[in-house]
Symmetry: C2
Subunit: 190 residues, 2 copies
Amino acid sequence: MKRLEEKILTDGIAVDENILKVDSFINHQVDPVLMDEIGEELAGHFKDRGITKVATIESSGIAPALTCAKALGVPMVILKKQPSKTLNSDLYQTIVTSYTKGTSYELTLSSKFVGADDHVLIIDDFLANGEAATGALRLIRKSHATIAGVGVVIEKAFQPGREKLETQGIEVYALARIARMAAGVIEFAE
Amino acid sequence: MKRLEEKILTDGIAVDENILKVDSFINHQVDPVLMDEIGEELAGHFKDRGITKVATIESSGIAPALTCAKALGVPMVILKKQPSKTLNSDLYQTIVTSYTKGTSYELTLSSKFVGADDHVLIIDDFLANGEAATGALRLIRKSHATIAGVGVVIEKAFQPGREKLETQGIEVYALARIARMAAGVIEFAE
């Protein structure tokens, strides 16, 4: 997505070879017009696939998931992070461990909102190691729904997230794919 | 807002005199079309006031804040919850204590995104005791920005949130004001 790549080049900050700050337009301050375009672009790619729900992980995926869900004409479902393990028969639950951050959290989904008849598109802001997306997949599979794919705003293509998802047969679509970074340098994949 | 009140009556669940579940269309599953209407309604009330930013608290205020910011033509800023206290000279920080939940968290805002020239509208999904909104106000005042008001989707009008904010001179606008609840019963204020 050309306009997103341009915005990343002008307003994104490559801190080092791993850290990209896009907090001025994606995940702390959010540009609502760009977010609408992002949602439409993601929806355009996945349209005509019978998607019934767009799911995202709390909280920086909410904005692109909302605009994508609106463009697809389906509800958005927020997979909730919970700090503590609360047993509840109406909830699907899974533990997501971030090896990079050294933290783990419980991801939950009410059984009321995703079920066997659903075909779910997962949307997130970033794909890097694929830990969050894999947790989301695991959670949605517990509901016996099928997965339409994973759509992300920015992919760190030099990290193994895409490979982890594709080896499970999941299609990954990213609006901007970063091949390499260094302090002050951002290079997109062809 | 008539359509919101109708949706609360048909799809909301009053568990007891305090707990209202709207997780099928506001904060777990989200209805993107209703959320657009909510954003437009909030923006319509606060338009022509010179608002430069819409701020919300992570995470269930993000959807209505995004649609309101889009309707006002300004950026949205997410006040971030952080579990641990990390000192950072570029961040405004405040502790928000929820006496009802018995928890506290740190709310943070980068000094890059709100400053003395800004006139900020705070948007959230619920107003009840006003603890979160008061924390958001305190944080935004640290940036020397001015406050345009607080807009919420649902107000529990039988709780003291509105009074706490209005005694500080803050205008509060709620799309649905609940006067009384009991198990299975929801009554709106006139």
